[in-house]
Symmetry: C2
Subunit: 382 residues, 2 copies
């Protein structure tokens, strides 16, 4: 509508648009601060658990012991898949991309939920917890099956990180490994209104449902401009070849004005607050799993980058040390982004429910630049 758009503002990336209020996470990129509901991310990584962090994001407060028990039990009751879902996982083409697998299987969860058309607040939250609970079994068992292994069912007594690693490897994970993954899940659980979180808001805006919202978010996270940065870090580390080649590699890239994956962040100009604690984990897990050289390469890159471009505010971000951590944990590189999704489910659900509570249809306009009054020329005159 030409009259209406004349008074409107063009904002192709919504860089200048605030889409609403939120109490979930606060980012101060200049100071290197990330808080979930006011609590510093580094403190949460050191003291909390992924389960408690999920409760925090969904409820805007920490749980007491009984509440945490109840929430955890609810999450665990959703770990296992239905027979139909197990059959669907077994029928997946082994060459499929794991993010597309996750998207398909989360959409499929809706098909057999008898409460799917119940769109109360409680039902939408229950759908979110179902997705949160079922995601680890989907990712881990798709990976097992494509490796020719038998599926492993989740055990109700494991936390999310332990459950995922046990299904993936078929063995009880070491304490340090499970803790490292738990920390990674805490660190990735929310990050303001990023593109995938915004996708959940667009979907919920039409009064659609949580399954549809998270399915859309997974498809959005899949894009290389969003998820996938830690995969690129890992491919870079594998390509360097060894600790001795690090300096030439980094200086060569910088001299050609090429970016180094895992360094710098659109938001953080100070150190990414998620990287600090993760680095110590990356080191211990690498040592425990015989990947010391991988960690030494990472440290080497960081030191050279710090000397070269540290004063420009280019520092390692959360992806840089999560790559080393995930690889040391034995994860296939194409599972890095699905694990990001496994964690971000919490933030997606929290923001989608926040929107549910104060909903508004999201419908921008476009500036029409095509022709007007064009004739329909009959085929024989074209």
């Amino acid at each position: 509508m030409p009259d209406a758009t004349a008074t409107m503002t063009m904002d192709k990336g919504l860089d200048h648009t605030i889409i609403g209020e939120s109490t979930k996470s606060f980012i101060d990129g200049q100071k290197g601060v990330l808080e979930y509901v006011g609590i510093d991310i580094d403190t949460l990584a050191r003291s909390s658990t992924f389960e408690e962090t999920c409760f925090l994001l969904l409820n805007d407060r920490l749980p007491d012991a009984a509440e945490l028990d109840a929430f955890t039990a609810r999450l665990r009751s959703n770990y296992d898949l239905s027979d139909r879902m197990w059959a669907a996982v077994a029928a997946l083409p082994p060459e499929a991309a794991p993010m597309h697998v996750l998207q398909t299987m989360v959409a499929m969860l809706a098909l057999e939920d008898p409460d799917c058309d119940n769109q109360s607040r409680e039902a939408e939250e229950a759908k979110a917890i179902r997705v949160l609970g079922a995601t680890p079994a989907i990712i881990a068992n798709f990976d097992r099956l494509r490796r020719g292994l038998e599926p492993v069912r989740p055990r109700g007594e494991d936390n999310v990180a332990t459950s995922f690693l046990r299904m993936l490897t078929g063995e009880t994970p070491g304490e340090a490994s499970a803790k490292a993954l738990d920390v990674c899940l805490i660190l990735h659980a929310d990050h303001g209104i990023n593109a995938s979180t915004f996708a959940t808001m667009v979907v919920m805006g039409t009064e659609s449902d949580m399954y549809s919202a998270i399915t859309a978010a997974i498809g959005t996270l899949r894009g290389p401009l969003h998820g996938g940065a830690n995969e690129r870090v890992m491919y870079m580390l594998q390509g360097i070849g060894g600790v001795g080649a690090v300096e030439d590699f980094v200086l060569g890239r910088l001299s050609r004005k090429e970016k180094i994956p895992g360094f710098g962040h659109r938001v953080y100009k100070a150190i990414d607050p998620r990287a600090t604690y993760l680095k110590t984990f990356a080191e211990s897990i690498a040592a425990e799993t015989g990947n010391e050289d991988l960690f030494r390469m990472s440290r080497g890159i960081e030191e050279i980058m710090d000397a070269q471009v540290g004063e420009k505010g280019i520092h390692p971000n959360v992806d840089f040390y999560s790559a080393t951590t995930y690889f040391s944990l034995g994860l296939a590189i194409d599972l890095f982004t699905p694990i990001f999704a496994m964690s971000r489910n919490a933030g997606w659900a929290a923001h989608a429910l926040e929107r549910f509570d104060d909903n508004r249809l999201i419908r921008p306009r476009c500036q029409y630049t095509g022709p007007h009054g064009a004739p329909y020329i009959p085929m024989d005159e074209r």
Copy 2:
């Protein structure tokens, strides 16, 4: 980031935001105009075909005869499903909601596309044509299977409308029926940047792919604030009971200030230009299929509404007569929105590719209204 958001604008529904340029469709709600690439929608409905309209939206011009043949052949080569997809359709729970089925199956198309990770313009367009081609078989055969019928494979010589109706009923559709559906597909193929089309842009913004974009769009269209209006029209018509009860029903609703489904439109204040030609089809199909009373009820509602609120700009919209048309064609009411998706695939793909050509990550901010510097209180002190 508090400093940045201070200079930003709050726009919760993006009502005041132009998200970019587009050459696809032009809407003038005051004058009741809808054009696809400059060509009036009523002219297209009367003279074009769904296949030609898809080409128009994707290429910004009408095809010549050879181009239309090539495009149609390409579309038809994607009609049939793989053995794995047929097995997946057969394994669907019969009680599933058709929109969730469609979302799951479109996501699944990505899993076995060997070109899925090819993100060239050509590959993304090929993915769109694959979705466009495969959607009718998915919807029609899910409906057959839940009715306990054997699946029916598509025939390569049918156009989309004929193919869909043949699979659905197992019989060659009458010419008028196939033409009516074809007209409905033309009328629903695009409509500016609505919520589902915007969802494709958010997904493509991260350089994700067409399958992910259309999957997100289906989940967005599913919401009752977007798709689903013609389903509500049909439930209303069924609830009235008969032609004689129309007047009391409409006047009763109006006196209670209740809305009448299928009347009025957020954008159109004049007559919805998509309703005009469709009405004549609704009448002929209703007559042909013995649903004259249904059409008489619709006409009756329109006449009373016109007398009562016509001067306020409340007129029947595209959903009003598509409901009668779809019902007369024998379609289950919960297939109305999936058929909307079957058509809107074209617009989704056109806008997603337009964004691909001039991409930008879409990432708004939120106004953080939660606490700062909150302590992590240990569990035993909570």
